[in-house]
Amino acid sequence: MKTILLVDDSATILLSISSILTKAGYTVEKAANAQDGLAKFKANTKVDLLITDLNMPGMNGIDFIKEVRRLPGYKFMPILFLTTESQQAKRVEAKAAGASGWLVKPATADELLNTIKLVVH
């Protein structure tokens, strides 16, 4: 069973998206910000996919995934952005930082799950 780490500063997003992922058969770890997310990685939590928001208080999503990529063992882990931002410039920045894909909120359950299948399986 694949484990997904979901990082978003919105409690509603954490609850709704994690419910969808759990129902689809994934194990879900949650973090309310980038620092909490990094703490999970540093605790060697098994993560097969990272889904993160872009605009978060404190560290933003792009800086967050740069930090994650520096950690041993997570260099090739798929990373998806789930964000309201749609600008191409931000996507280019995210890709350069090591992101695997980009989903614009609000994403439907099918869009989310199909994209996850493409990057995880």
């Binding site: 309201t84 931002e85 600008q87 989903l103 989310l112």
Partner: protein, 424 residues
């Protein structure tokens, strides 16, 4: 040049022209008399008289202008004094208004604080509501999941029940077939028995002829014994022994006749007994009734089996429908959960508006400062257009940018946004 200045210039020109004409006419009319009075009576020189005359003309023209202005315009300076007073009043009013506006502009921050507070409240409440919705959806999903589990187990049970009922019905059919064959065998067996009994009875009845033959022999023997007795009597003493034998033979003949009669009666009784004992078995109607009863039982069992199958199939259909509905519900639940993301989108949009209001705070403060320093040159002020452009740069969503452009009646030129889903 403003309207008042133009009016004053026109009035001044008209007044000067009018007074000039009057003075010209007056100088022309009284010039000689004036020279005579000043030079003749007062002894002034010609130059002095002209100088005094010019001075008088100038003073008269000035006085005439002021007098006419006062009469016509109720103002010594053809309205300039009134206009100035009006202007001064306007300046005072403008200063008062500027002071008032500056004070009000300083209150914009307070006003926006109220709006921001309201927006924060909206964000908090919608976030709580969306969270509650997500939680309730989870609860609904748990119920749906339990229902799905029940439906799955019911489906298995229903399938198993259907299989078992079909095999049970098949076994019943086989049993009915066995019973039917048994009945047919019984019918055939009974028919065979009937034939055999009839043959036995016939055989027994055929023995009657043999009995009659024995009876005839016995009768002939009796007659022979009687004749022997007669002949023995004729023979006298010599035939006395023979007479005893003849008498014994006659007695045997009588006993044989009696025995034959008893045999005949016995055979009739045996035939009657066989016939009556097999009568029930021979009665085809009894067997047919059994067969009919079995066929009715078979039909009822078949109908029962079909009804049972129908009920089981109906149950399977109901379970399949429930299963399909629960799957649809599960899909709807997923989509409903996904749609809760609207709150995060709305929250960020409201946060953008709050940021724009903060920008408006700063701009209002700058405007207030500018009004408070009206007399000071070179006070820098960032124009509103720059703030509007900065708001545009701060947006995070395409919809925000499109709404921005539409609000300014600008054609949307695209914001450089990519597809909704993109894999790198």
């Amino acid at each position: 040049m403003d309207a008042d200045t133009k009016i004053i210039l026109r009035r001044s020109s008209a007044l000067l022209l009018g007074v000039g004409l009057v003075v010209t006419v007056l100088v022309y009319s009284v010039h000689d008399w004036f020279d005579y009075q000043l030079m003749g009576r007062l002894g002034l020189s010609h130059n002095a008289a002209d100088t005094v005359g010019t001075l008088v003309v100038i003073l008269a023209a000035f006085g005439g202008q002021r007098l006419l202005s006062l009469i016509v315009f109720r103002d010594l300076a053809v309205g300039a004094i009134t206009s100035r007073q009006k202007l001064q009043q306007q300046v005072r009013s403008a200063n008062d208004a500027a002071t008032e506006v500056a004070g009000e502009l300083k209150q914009v921050r307070t006003f926006n604080d109220v709006l921001r507070g309201q927006m924060e409240m909206i964000v908090t409440e919608t976030e709580k509501a969306a969270f509650d919705i997500a939680e309730r959806l989870q609860t609904i999903d748990q119920v749906v999941t339990r229902l799905s589990g029940f439906v799955d187990s019911s489906t298995l049970e229903s399938t198993d029940l259907l299989t078992r009922s079909e095999s049970s019905i098949e076994r019943n059919r086989e049993l009915i077939g066995t019973l039917d064959r048994y009945i047919s065998d019984r019918v055939n067996s009974t028919r065979d028995d009937e034939k055999r009994v009839a043959e036995v009875v016939k055989e027994v009845q055929s023995l009657g002829t043999l009995v009659q033959l024995i009876k005839n022999i016995s009768s002939q023997t009796n007659l022979l014994a009687l004749n022997a007795a007669i002949e023995a009597a004729r023979a006298g003493d010599a035939g006395r022994g023979f007479a005893v034998v003849a008498d014994e033979v006659r007695k045997l003949s009588g006993e044989a006749d009696t025995a034959v009669g008893q045999i005949n009666e016995g055979m009739k009784a045996v035939a009657n007994s066989i016939t009556s004992r097999f009568q029930d078995k021979l009665a085809q109607t009894h067997i047919e009734r059994e067969r009919e009863a079995l066929q009715r039982f078979s039909s009822q069992l078949e109908e029962l089996g079909q009804s049972y199958q129908e009920v089981t199939r109906h149950e399977a259909q109901v379970i399949a429908t429930i299963r399909e509905s629960s799957q649809q519900l599960a899909a709807m639940f997923m989509e409903a959960l996904a749609s809760v993301q609207f709150q995060d989108v709305t929250r960020q949009q409201i946060e953008q508006v709050a940021t724009a209001l903060s920008r408006l705070d700063s701009h209002a403060a700058e405007l207030a400062d500018r009004l408070n320093r009206l007399g000071e040159p070179g006070v820098a002020l960032k124009p509103m257009s720059q703030h509007i452009e900065q708001i545009y740069q701060d947006y995070v969503m395409s919809s925000q940018r499109e709404t921005h452009q539409a609000s300014l009646n600008r054609r949307s030129v695209g914001d450089g946004g990519g597809p909704k889903i993109e894999l790198f």
